[in-house]
Amino acid sequence: MKQNIPVRLDRRIYSREELCGEYFILWIWDDNLSRKCHPGQFFEIRAHASLLDAFDARSLPKLYKPISIYDNADGRIGFFIKKVGAGTSALAKLKAGDKLELIGPLGNGFNPVSNKRVLLLSGGIGYPPLWYLQKELINHNKIFWLHGGANQDDVFPCDEVWTMDGSFGKKGMVTEGLAPLILEKKINLVYSCGPIPMLKQAAKITRELGIRHYTSLEAYMACGIGVCHGCAVPIRTDTKEDIEAGTSIPQWDYLRVCKEGPVFNAEDVMWSML
């Protein structure tokens, strides 16, 4: 969970990969930047825009978009992106050689571990940060990767796939496969990333099984650097004993996904408030 001072850079897109469905990968090449990155961290990125566009009134520059580090090897950093709205559509139009604006690396990232039996759980666009994590963990841990998507366009290489429509792998919610696998594979640590309902369900399961579970959360962001408090999620910070009632009341605060996160201990997330 290291935090480097983020930088703001313009970088040429070194290459671009097309995947199924609405997915694509943009690669940049920057040895220095590459050395600063850790799994679970992300960048705020944007198709090159100028403030002066607003003056020219041709197009209004919009917010940067948070995108995880998908891969980081040999000085190349990959962003694995799904086109879902205006910001990601603008990114989807970029070609190799075009300029990308970047702020990062941002966020806390995953804690590296060793000698563990690790389960990775991803849903849809939760896949990219776990790929980078998996590469870092693979030599020192036993890893099993479970991934779920809506359909065959939302699945990527891993150990077990679930799709909602059954068009690839097992049919159903990926979390249905979680408890059996944890037991079967003797998992002692789960890392997850994906849509909130999936993470909520996964957190319930790991909690019941008493398994440590770190989860990477998403939030709408404005600054990405901890300034605006726009990306807040409710996180337990402490517990207070209620002597009279004989119970302990969770103390919580709105923490910033971009600064204290995106990775949180799943135990600490106030899931019922999300």
């Binding site: 703001r8 003056f55 709408y220």
Partner: protein
């Protein structure tokens, strides 16, 4: 940089470019040097810590940003013990502390406590946050209350006393006049407009609280109109904001009567907005052989 000196009441600024409360913090200074800024206005502080509003708190519309932060802040004590020392260590430009309260007494309590600290050049009274029910907003809309507030607070401090006004009122000039009469030494405007966005597919509000605060380029014409109205109504210097993205935008506000401007949403759109606006102003004035005083309030209709 001499050319871009300006002043805001008792404050001498080395640059007319400042930053809007809640949109800029020390992290931003990782991206550029602080000499481009005339002052640093920190996020609003309240007497007690505030947890803020439930998420989602942000939504970007076609032409701006809707936010519903709800003045999340650690409260006065933590500000003094943790934040202020860090700001003082980092800054060599004037620090303006933005404060808000739910009563005149609470404002007074905060100012009196802050007066015991060093390193503060002024206060910005946030009486205009649309994300706080029955608190800030209740103040900002009544001239009499704004007058009372300023009259009560002014004797407590020799420092710059800025009142930050809401655009969500019928007669902003009357409120500015009340602030002036009460003893404020400058006016900041505008805070966010009410704004809302709904997911057309599901009917769900994009912001958990429903109505939030709207900022960014889409509010520029409104901010400019209100700056102009207030500049006509009072003699106090104005620090204007609302949709300023470019140096051309900044000039519009200076012409309309602002002595300084602040960048808010622009900091999110481009972390280098402040130095870019500064450079643009500098080049423009150099090319036209004008000083800021030839521009400020010199708008013709």
């Amino acid at each position: 940089m001499k050319q871009l000196n300006t002043s805001l009441g008792k404050l001498k600024l080395n640059s007319p470019v400042t930053v809007a409360s809640g949109t800029f913090d020390l992290e931003n200074l990782d991206f550029f040097g602080q000499d481009f800024l005339g002052a640093f206005i920190c996020k609003t502080i309240t007497r007690h810590s505030r947890i803020g509003n439930p998420p989602p708190r942000l939504y970007e519309s076609e032409a701006g940003l809707i936010n519903s932060i709800g003045l999340q802040n650690p409260g006065l004590d933590k500000f003094i013990s943790d934040i202020l020392p860090r700001l003082n260590a980092a800054l060599n430009i004037p620090l303006v502390v933005s404060i808000s309260g739910s009563s005149i007494t609470e404002f007074a309590e905060i100012i009196c406590r802050l007066e015991m600290e060093s390193g503060i050049s002024g206060y910005e009274l946030n009486v205009s946050c649309p994300n706080v029910e029955k608190e800030g907003i209740a103040f900002g809309v009544h001239p009499e209350v704004v007058f009372e507030l300023c009259k009560t607070l002014a004797p407590f401090t020799q420092k710059e006393l800025i009142v930050k006004l809401s655009p969500n009122v019928t007669d902003i000039a009357a409120i500015a006049k009340a602030a002036e009469a009460g003893g404020a030494s400058s006016i900041a405007l505008i805070n966010t407009l009410w704004g809302m966005a709904i997911d057309y597919k599901t009917g769900r509000s994009q912001i958990k609280m429903g109505v939030g605060g709207y900022s960014g380029i889409g509010i520029k014409p409104v901010a400019l109109a209100l700056t102009y109205k207030v500049a006509k109504a009072v003699k106090l210097p104005i620090i204007a904001m609302g949709g300023i993205y470019t140096w051309q935008d900044a000039l519009e506000f200076l012409w309309a009567g602002a002595s300084a401007i602040a960048l808010g949403t622009a900091n999110f759109i481009d972390p280098l907005a402040a130095p870019k606006v500064f450079a643009g102003l500098q080049d423009f004035l150099a090319e036209k052989k004008l000083g800021l005083q030839d521009i400020i309030g010199k708008c013709e209709v």
